[in-house]
Amino acid sequence: MLKVKKILLEVAVIFLGGIALYFATSHNAFMYQQPILQVTAVENGKTSVTKDEFSNRDEQTTQRLTGRILNGSSKGEKYTFSNTYTKSGGIDQKFHVGQQLFVNLYHQKGRTSVSVSTYKRDTYFAILVWIMLCLLLLVMKIKGLRALGSVLFNFILFILIVQLDVNWNITSFFAIFACSALIFTALTLVWILGWNKQCLITLEAIVIGTALAFAICIFAMWITNDQGMHYEALDFATQQPKQLFLAASVIGLLGTVMDAATDIVSTLFEMKRRQPQVGFKRLYSSGKQVGKSIMGPLVNVLLLIFFAETFTLAILYFRTGNSIGYTFSWTMSLGLVQSLISGIGITLVIPTASFLAAITLGGRTEK
């Protein structure tokens, strides 16, 4: 009975929390600087069919929207404006009554015109975060929160460093990112594992694996003269694109290497705890066994993550009459290189982590 009560209580808390969040985020317009408009009436116009030179058919509709401003100096004022949307919704969308939108107001000669900037999505973001938090707590208990804490901490640190880079506008910013990535790793490991031998070995393995993989990658780029690398295809590159790309690669590489290294080292430490007499050879070979079984899925995960990112863009390229080779080299080659570097990192960290852990744990008991 007590268990049932506890479950009911948990469900109630999750639901009530969700409803409270929904209410709070749909009434938080006063917290924003940009004017927010709530749509009160929608009048849909005629739909016309469009066709481009690649015979992509689409439907375009213009709607008249009426809405009330919820915040700022024009609070309470009513405006009517039009919005055009396509069926495919690449960069536009259809609005409905009750939705809140970020808008720009232009005052000119006594008249005010409204243009929609974007849909206000904070409610859904908050609820998703809430669901994730609840699931983490339910499944992993307090450990999940701890992990989340380190993610948040790293996120804030990362934003700070990016801000630093933007403000100072340094030419050799790669060093900053590489160093900060190292600091992230060390802090995360200490946070999760605590300051002990296991943490130290994991860190050593990560640093060696990352450095080796990165050196190989730089060497490969140098030897092939960056052939087929379209650094100019990099999104939002305002600084030197190659350095920016390498900085991003190092951070990604470190993440995957950390994943593999922690798995191996913690397995070996657990093994040693259970069988204290186990020696170097057995530890090393079981470390490699663990590595073998995580390598396949991990490398595939990298591929999927990278592919998910380029999915929409690749479809757009194909639909606008580009060839397979062109699409590949402009939308995928950079991401693929990053995944390859991370994959190389995984393969290198498996023997490194196994060796380091095995020699520390089993070196003395070797017969």
Binding site: D52, N56, R57, D58, T86, S88, G89, G90, I91, D92, Y119, R121, Y124, L128, I216, A220, M221, I223, T224, D226, Q227, G228, M229, K288, G291, K292, S293, I294, M295, G296, P297, L298, V299, N300, V301, L303, L304, I305, F307, A308, F311, T312, L313, I315, L316, F318, R319, I324, F328, S333, L336, V337, L340, I341, G343, I344, T347, L348, I350, P351
Partner: protein, 135 residues
């Protein structure tokens, strides 16, 4: 030789050195998955219905990733079913409500035509599936 092909060769060699036969199989599964993903993009761009194609591709990728290179049949069956359940759950729970309510689709500021609404959400799904396969 392009940088990509050199790095691919390096990865293949290292995977074989580090993982032996299983490493080689993992590399093959990587190639298969990449081909499948590329085919999915081409099929969707060709106008086939997005969700069925994606779901089919996801199941294939899942099968390749899990069954290739794993010898323990019971264990892999469990992993396969578990990830499939998560995939279906995510598809039902997250995609329709979120896509209609939050209207997360398309691009932020690029020109676009005929981009189906579901692509991005499915992309997230892929990661989800993929992450669960590692356990």
């Amino acid at each position: 030789m392009t940088t990509i092909s050199l790095l691919t060769i390096i990865l293949a060699v290292l995977m074989v050195i580090s993982g032996g036969r299983r490493g080689a199989i993992s590399f093959v599964s990587l190639l298969l998955n990449f081909t499948l993903l590329f085919l999915t993009v081409i099929l969707i761009a060709g106008g086939l219905p997005v969700l069925p194609v994606t779901f089919l591709a996801a199941v294939c990728i899942l099968a390749i990733t899990i069954y290739l290179g794993n010898t323990d049949e019971v264990e892999t069956n469990v992993a396969f079913l578990a990830t499939l359940t998560v995939l279906v759950l995510m598809l039902l729970l997250i995609v329709p409500p979120l896509d209609h309510l939050a209207q997360i689709h398309g691009f932020s500021n690029e020109e676009s035509e005929e981009i189906e609404a579901f692509n991005l959400a499915i992309g997230v799904n892929f990661e989800e599936i993929a992450l669960t396969t590692t356990y």
